[in-house]
Symmetry: C2
């Protein structure tokens, strides 16, 4: 990277710290940007500025929005009696792409973790419990990852919510669509066997 202008070296350095990018791909992206200054670099920089200035968290669910509340919380077509609890906005997007869920969301902002010292107060768990109490929520779907931290969080939230009389469910586990048995881990096969359906 010697012989490059200071600004480009700094840009590559910043890009290389983004998730999924390393030094080599950061250099490729930086070159791409500098070569397409007016078509790509300037619009992207402007859009980042707009996002930084306008995007905030929805006051109810934690989704990203430009106003006080997000489109989903504002929509009258979404069922407010069902709340899907997700780890992150990325998971909310994944659920929305599926297109099968017509309720509302609650974004935790992470998972409970003893190793990383993440407790319930760091996440939006108190807000969830408060929300379930205040609104007339019938069911809470805990759509969290099937990892240790994910399941710890499921157990913690489920215990708290069951106290307030709401029905709590988790996502079904089993063979993913298009999945080949040979490539699945033992845990998944065991879960799929337990949740087998009569044909």
């Amino acid at each position: 990277m010697d012989g490059g202008a200071q600004e480009i070296v700094a840009l590559v350095e910043m890009l290389s710290k983004l998730p999924g990018l390393g030094p080599r791909s950061a250099r490729r992206v930086a070159l791409h940007l500098v070569k397409r200054r007016t078509q790509v670099l300037v619009p992207l920089g402007d859009m980042m500025k707009r996002v930084a200035e306008n995007i905030r968290e929805c006051g109810i669910c934690g989704n990203f929005c430009t106003g006080e509340l997000c489109d989903i919380c504002l929509s009258r077509e979404r069922d407010s009696r069902i709340i899907c609890v997700v780890q992150d906005v990325a998971d909310l997007w994944a659920m929305e792409r599926g297109g099968d869920f017509s309720g509302r969301y609650h974004v935790l902002g992470g998972l409970l973790s003893y190793i990383d010292d993440v407790g319930p107060e760091t996440l939006r768990i108190p807000q969830l419990i408060e929300r379930v109490r205040a609104e007339s929520v019938a069911e809470a779907i805990l759509a969290l990852s099937a990892t240790v931290d994910g399941q710890t969080t499921v157990h913690y939230i489920a215990e708290k919510l069951v106290e307030s009389g709401v029905s709590v469910s988790t996502l079904g586990q089993g063979v993913p669509i298009g999945g080949e048995l040979d490539y699945l881990d033992d845990g998944t096969i065991s879960a799929a066997l337990k949740s087998r359906k009569t044909y």
Copy 2:
């Protein structure tokens, strides 16, 4: 991506068009940026603006710089009698990382290509020929890719430069350091055999 604010959708769309990024990795990067607004998003946007405003091409070699000429062309420690011809600034960076070359560069900005309709005038080839004539250049190293377009470009430039009496060389071909014979293609093995050295 439904249920996201318009700005984030637009940001993901732009990011997904960068080289090496697809829709999924663009979403990951966008989330990373929005979550770390002050530490990452704002500085990165600012740096892109600075690069867009300040970076231009060196008037001699085509490297990126902030002034009229780049650091390498301005340096008195670089040998001006040897010019290394590269396709892109990325290749200039790669040569500089090697640290073995102490001459100057000439960035073509691409390779000749009949398929993509790239002729000598689209690239900085006329400037190279003019430069070799004007400056007292002793050797031109054509450090271009070992692809069809790369070798077409090598042949074209070599013919033009030999006319002006300069010594023209290309990079040596053979087994890369750490390379296992079993994984190399036939062309490389054949090239390595031709350029074998007595032990």
